[in-house]
C-alpha cells in the first residue's frame, strides 16, 4: 500500500563533486574487470546477445540443410556439431546468462534499493568465467566440436570427437560454476541488502523469481557438474562410470544430466516470468493480479520442478513406477504455471494497455507460452510421450516455450529497461516491426514441427524421409524470416544507444525503485537512501487520495523527478 512518506523537505541532491565515484563509467570500462553490478549486467547482456547471433547463424545453416531431405549442404559430422553447439550456446551462453546474469544483476540491487550486489568481486568473477568458458568452446571446434547433442549422452559422447567433447565439458563446467556463484550472490543480496522499509510483500516479483531461480541453480547445477566430470574422466582417464563394457551404467548419466537440465528449463523461464510481471503491470497501468499467487507459484515451480526430470527419459531404461510417478509430477507443474498465466491475463483485463514494444513482446510471450504449455502437458503424459519423444514434436514444444517464451521475454525486458540502462529511448516503430517479424517467423518456423514429429520425423537428423519435405521447407522459410527479424532490432539498439532521444528518469511512470533514480543510474545507484513510498504495482491506488493533503502517486513521481534534476 502507498505510504506517502516522501520527505518534501529533503536536502537537495549532492552535486557530482561530492561523490565517492564522481564520474560515470566510460565506454572502455565495459570491456574491463568491473565490480559495478550495472556494468556486469550490461556485459552479460551484450556478450550473451553476441552468442545468440552465433547460435542463430548455426540454426540457419541447419535449416538450410533441412530444406531438402538429402544431406547435401553440410557433412553429417558438421551438422551434428552445429546442432550440439546451437543448443549449448542458446541455453548456456544466451538465455541463462542474459536472463539471470544480465537482468538479474542489473535489476536486483536497483529494485531492492541496494548500492550493489552483496559480493561485487564474486559477481565480476562469475561474469568473466563466461568468456573463458567461450574460449574453451572455441577450442573444442578446433577438434571438430562436440557432436553428441547438448545432452551428450554416453556412450556416443565417449566415442565421438573425444577432444572436442572434453573441451565442451570444460566449457560447461566453467559456466556452471559461474551460475552457482551468481545464485549464491542473488540469495544473499536479496536477503541482506533489501532496503529496510521494503516489506517482503513489497518485493518486486522479478526479485521473487530470482529467489526461486537461484535456489534451483544452487541445488541442481552441482549435479550436472558431477555428471560431466565423470564423463570427462571416462573419456580421458580410463574410468568406466558410463562404459557398459566396464560395468558402467549409461542411464545414470541421464539422471545426473536431467536432474540439472530440467530445472535449467525453469532457470530460463522463471526470471522471464518475473520480467513479465513487471512489464504487464506497468504497461497496463494496473496492479498485478494476485501478487502473492504469482510470487508463491514461482516457489512452487521451483520445488516441484526438482522432481520431474525423468520425463526426459520415459523411453530410456526407466521402470514403470518411475514413468508413472514422473508423469503425475510433471502434469502438476502445469498448475502453478497456469496460475501465473491467468494472473497476467487478469492483470491485462480492465487495464489501459499500451502497445509499446515491451508490451507487445510480453503479450506475444503470453500467447505462445499458452500453446507451448499445452503441448508440454501432452508430453508429460508418458503413453503419448513414448510416441513423440525425441521427435520434432519435442523440438516444436521447447522452441515455443524457450523461443516464444524466454527469448520473447528477453526482448521485452531489453526494450523495457533500455531507457534505464542507456538513458535514451529506442525507436518504437522499429521495435514494432521487430515484434511482427519475430512473431510470424516463430510460428512459421515452429508450428509445422509439431506435425512433423507426430507423423514420424525424429529430431537431430541431417537427412529425412522425403514425405516430410514440404513442411520442412515451410520451417526453413520461417527461420529465414526469424533471421531477418533480428536486423531491425540490431539497428534500433545500436542507433538508439548513441542517437536516441533522452529518455529521462522514468519514461514508463513505473513504481519500482529502479525507475526512481537517474537514467542511467549513478554509480552507486541512489544519491540518497531510497524511500519505499508505494508498493511496486500500486497503479491507480493513489489516484483518489484518502486525505486531501496526501500527494497522489503522480505528484510524488513528479516530485522525485524534480529532485533528480
Amino acid at each position: 500500500m502507498a505510504q506517502a512518506q516522501l520527505p518534501l523537505q529533503s536536502p537537495p541532491p549532492q552535486e557530482h563533486t561530492g561523490h565517492a565515484h564522481p564520474e560515470q563509467w566510460s565506454w572502455y570500462h565495459y570491456f574491463l574487470y568491473n565490480t559495478d553490478h550495472k556494468v556486469i549486467g550490461i556485459q552479460y547482456l551484450v556478450t550473451a546477445f553476441f552468442f545468440y547471433l552465433v547460435a542463430g547463424v548455426m540454426a540457419l545453416f541447419m535449416r538450410a540443410e533441412l530444406a531438402t531431405p538429402d544431406p547435401d549442404l553440410l557433412s553429417p559430422d558438421v551438422y551434428n556439431t552445429l546442432l550440439t553447439n546451437h543448443g549449448t550456446l542458446m541455453i548456456f551462453f544466451w538465455i541463462v546468462p542474459a536472463a539471470i546474469g544480465g537482468f538479474g544483476n542489473y535489476l536486483v540491487p536497483l529494485m531492492i534499493g541496494a548500492k550493489d550486489m552483496a559480493f561485487p568481486n564474486l559477481n565480476a568473477i562469475a561474469f568473466w568465467l563466461n568468456p573463458i568458458s567461450a574460449v574453451c568452446l572455441g577450442i573444442s571446434f578446433l577438434y571438430g566440436g562436440a557432436q553428441a547433442g547438448w545432452t551428450s549422452y554416453p556412450p556416443l559422447s565417449i566415442v565421438t570427437s573425444p577432444n572436442g567433447q572434453s573441451f565442451w565439458i570444460l566449457s560447461i563446467a566453467l559456466i556452471g560454476t559461474s551460475s552457482i556463484l551468481g545464485a549464491l550472490n542473488f540469495l544473499v543480496t536479496i536477503y541482506k541488502l533489501k532496503t529496510p522499509d521494503m516489506n517482503w510483500d513489497e518485493l518486486p516479483l522479478f526479485c521473487w523469481a530470482m529467489v526461486a531461480t537461484s535456489f534451483l541453480a544452487l541445488f541442481s547445477t552441482p549435479v550436472l557438474a558431477i555428471g560431466l566430470i565423470m564423463l570427462l574422466f571416462d573419456i580421458n582417464f580410463g574410468t568406466g562410470f558410463f562404459r557398459p563394457e566396464m560395468g558402467g551404467d549409461v542411464v545414470v548419466y541421464q539422471h545426473l544430466f536431467w536432474f540439472y537440465s530440467h530445472p535449467a528449463v525453469y532457470l530460463m523461464i522463471l526470471p522471464i516470468f518475473g520480467v513479465m510481471s513487471e512489464i504487464i503491470s506497468t504497461h497496463a497501468r494496473k496492479p498485478i493480479f494476485g501478487y502473492r499467487a504469482i510470487a508463491y507459484s514461482s516457489l512452487a515451480i521451483c520445488v516441484v520442478g526438482l522432481f520431474v526430470w525423468v520425463h526426459h527419459m520415459f523411453t530410456s531404461g526407466t521402470p514403470p513406477w518411475m514413468r508413472m510417478f514422473f508423469t503425475i509430477s510433471t502434469l502438476i507443474v502445469a498448475v502453478p504455471t497456469g496460475v501465473k498465466i491467468f494472473g497476467w491475463v487478469a492483470t491485462l483485463w480492465g487495464g489501459k494497455i499500451r502497445f509499446t514494444s515491451p508490451m507487445l513482446f510480453a503479450v506475444g510471450l503470453l500467447a505462445m507460452f499458452v500453446f507451448g504449455g499445452l503441448s508440454g502437458v501432452t508430453l508429460g503424459a508418458a503413453p503419448f510421450d513414448l510416441h513423440v519423444h525425441d521427435t520434432y514434436y519435442v523440438v516444436a514444444h521447447f522452441h515455443y516455450v524457450l523461443f516464444g517464451g524466454s527469448v520473447f521475454g528477453l526482448y521485452a525486458g531489453i526494450y523495457h529497461w533500455f531507457p534505464k540502462m542507456t538513458g535514451r529511448m529506442y525507436n518504437e516503430t522499429l521495435g514494432r516491426i521487430h515484434f511482427v517479424l519475430t512473431f510470424i517467423g516463430t510460428n512459421l518456423t515452429f508450428l509445422p514441427m509439431h506435425s512433423l514429429g507426430m507423423q514420424g520425423m525424429p529430431r537431430r537428423v541431417a537427412l529425412y524421409d522425403p514425405q516430410f519435405e514440404f513442411l520442412n521447407k515451410v520451417c526453413t522459410y520461417g527461420s529465414i524470416l526469424l533471421g531477418i527479424s533480428v536486423l531491425p532490432f540490431l539497428v534500433n539498439m545500436i542507433w538508439s544507444w548513441s542517437q536516441g532521444a533522452p529518455a529521462g528518469r522514468n519514461p514508463w511512470r513505473s513504481l519500482t525503485l529502479e525507475w526512481q533514480t537517474s537514467s542511467p543510474p549513478a554509480i552507486e545507484n541512489f544519491d540518497e537512501e531510497p524511500i519505499v513510498w508505494a508498493g511496486p504495482y500500486d497503479y491507480g491506488i493513489d489516484t483518489q487520495s484518502f486525505e486531501p493533503d496526501d500527494p497522489t502517486v503522480a505528484e510524488i513521481l513528479a516530485e522525485v523527478g524534480q529532485e533528480m534534476k
Binding site: P76, N80, Y153, P155, L156, R243, P244, E245, M246, D249, V250, V251, R285, K286, G290, A293, T315, S316, G317, P319, W321, R323, T327, I328, L331, A334, V335, G338, F342, G343, V345, W349, G350, G351, K352, R354, F355, V363, V370, A381, A382, P383, F384, L386, H387, H389, D390, H450, G456, P458, R459, R460, V461, A462, Y464, D465, Y537, Y539, G540, I541
Partner: protein, 325 residues
C-alpha cells in the same frame, strides 16, 4: 460495461461462447488428423489419450487466447487518457477457482495416463513375469523380491510387456533386435532367420528383445505409437500386436552418430499366409551352409550371436571398432 440501455445479458454471451468452445474443441479432438494411421493395438489407446488432451487443450487455448485478444482490443489505451486503471489487486475466490480447475484436469489426465499405460503393457516387464512364475530364467531370483517397483540389476527389462489380458502367456513370436551404427539387425531365434527388415504376422503377439551393439539407439514404430531406447548393457523390450498389413517405417530416434538420420528400416506386416511363405523362403535361404548370408555378416555380428549369453562383453570391442570408422 453493461451500462447501456439494451444489451445482451453477459450470462447469455458467456453461455454461447461456452457452448461454441466446447463444440469446436470436441470436434477438433476427433478430427485433428495429426497422428499417422494406427497399426497396433496400442495405437488407438495412445490416440484416445492424445485426443482427450487435444479437446481439453483446444478449449483452454481458445478461452485463454480469446481472453488475451479480447483484452487487447477492449482495454487498449485510448489516446489522451493518462490515468491509471481501476486498482484490482486480486480476487481470492477466482484464484482458487483457476488453481482448482487445472489441478483437477491434470489429476484426471494422470489417472487416465496410468490406465492407458497399463493397457499398453507398460507394467509387465521382467519383474512382473517372475511373479507369475513364467519366465524360467527368473526362477532363480527370489519370488517377490523384484516387484515392478524396484529395478534390481539386470533382471528387469525396461519397455513394454504383455498387457493385462495377455498376462502370463508367452509371445507368439520373439525377435531379437540389435541396433548398431547405423542399422537394425533382426534375428528370429525360432527359425534362425537374420534380416535387415522386420517381418511380422498380423494379429500375433510379437515381442522384440532390444539390444545395442555400440551406442544408444531408440527403436520407434511411428504407426504403432511405441518407442523404446536401445541401451548398451541393459535389456529392453517392446511387445505389440499388429492390426493392419502393410509396410511401415522403423526409425532410430536417439542420436547415434553422423548418419543417425539414415538409420531407418521397415516393418512388414504380413497376412498369416504371406508370413508363412516368407518364413519358409528365408529359412531355406539361410539354412546352414548358405554362404551368401554369412558373408553379409560382420565379425562383430557373428561374435555377438555367440557371446549373447555372456551378457554385455561384446559391447567393448564393438565400440572400439566404431571409433576407427
Amino acid at each position: 460495461m453493461a451500462n447501456e440501455k439494451e444489451t445482451i445479458p453477459g450470462t447469455l454471451i458467456t453461455l454461447v461462447i461456452g457452448i461454441t468452445v466446447t463444440a469446436v474443441s470436441i470436434w477438433y479432438g476427433q478430427n485433428n488428423n495429426l497422428l499417422p494411421e494406427q497399426v497396433s493395438q496400442q495405437a488407438p489407446l495412445v490416440d484416445d489419450l492424445f485426443n482427450i488432451m487435444v479437446v481439453i487443450g483446444t478449449a483452454l487455448f481458445l478461452v485463454v487466447e480469446g481472453a488475451i485478444v479480447f483484452t487487447l482490443i477492449k482495454f487498449r489505451h485510448r489516446p489522451g487518457d493518462e490515468t491509471d486503471s481501476q486498482p484490482v489487486t486480486g480476487n481470492f475466490s477466482l484464484e482458487i477457482f483457476w488453481t482448482a480447475i487445472p489441478a483437477f484436469i491434470v489429476i484426471g489426465l494422470g489417472i487416465y495416463s496410468v490406465q492407458v499405460y497399463n493397457q499398453m503393457g507398460g507394467f509387465d516387464t521382467g519383474g512382473n513375469m517372475a511373479h507369475h512364475g513364467h519366465a524360467p530364467v527368473q526362477v532363480a531370483s527370489l519370488p517377490g523380491s523384484n516387484g515392478p517397483l524396484l529395478a534390481q540389476g539386470g533382471d528387469i527389462t525396461y519397455g513394454l510387456g504383455a498387457n493385462a489380458e495377455m498376462g502370463v502367456r508367452p509371445a507368439d513370436l520373439t525377435v531379437d533386435v540389435a541396433g548398431m551404427q547405423y542399422a537394425w539387425i533382426f534375428t528370429y531365434p525360432d527359425s534362425g532367420i537374420i534380416s535387415g527388415e522386420l517381418h511380422v504376422p498380423i494379429g500375433q503377439d510379437v515381442k522384440l528383445n532390444l539390444e545395442a551393439k555400440d551406442v544408444l539407439h531408440a527403436f520407434w514404430l511411428p504407426q504403432f505409437r511405441i518407442k523404446q531406447d536401445v541401451i548398451p548393457g541393459q535389456q529392453t523390450q517392446l511387445r505389440f500386436v499388429a492390426t493392419k498389413t502393410g509396410t511401415y517405417p522403423i526409425v532410430c530416434a536417439e542420436l547415434c552418430g553422423s548418419y543417425h538420420g539414415g538409420m531407418r528400416s521397415q516393418i512388414i506386416v504380413h497376412s498369416p499366409e504371406d508370413y508363412q511363405a516368407w518364413l519358409e523362403a528365408n529359412t531355406v535361404a539361410q539354412a546352414p551352409g548358405s554362404e551368401q548370408t554369412l558373408a553379409t555378416l560382420t565379425d562383430s555380428d557373428r561374435l555377438a550371436a555367440f557371446t549373447h549369453e555372456f551378457g554385455m562383453d561384446h559391447v567393448g570391442p564393438t565400440i572400439a571398432a566404431h571409433t576407427h570408422l
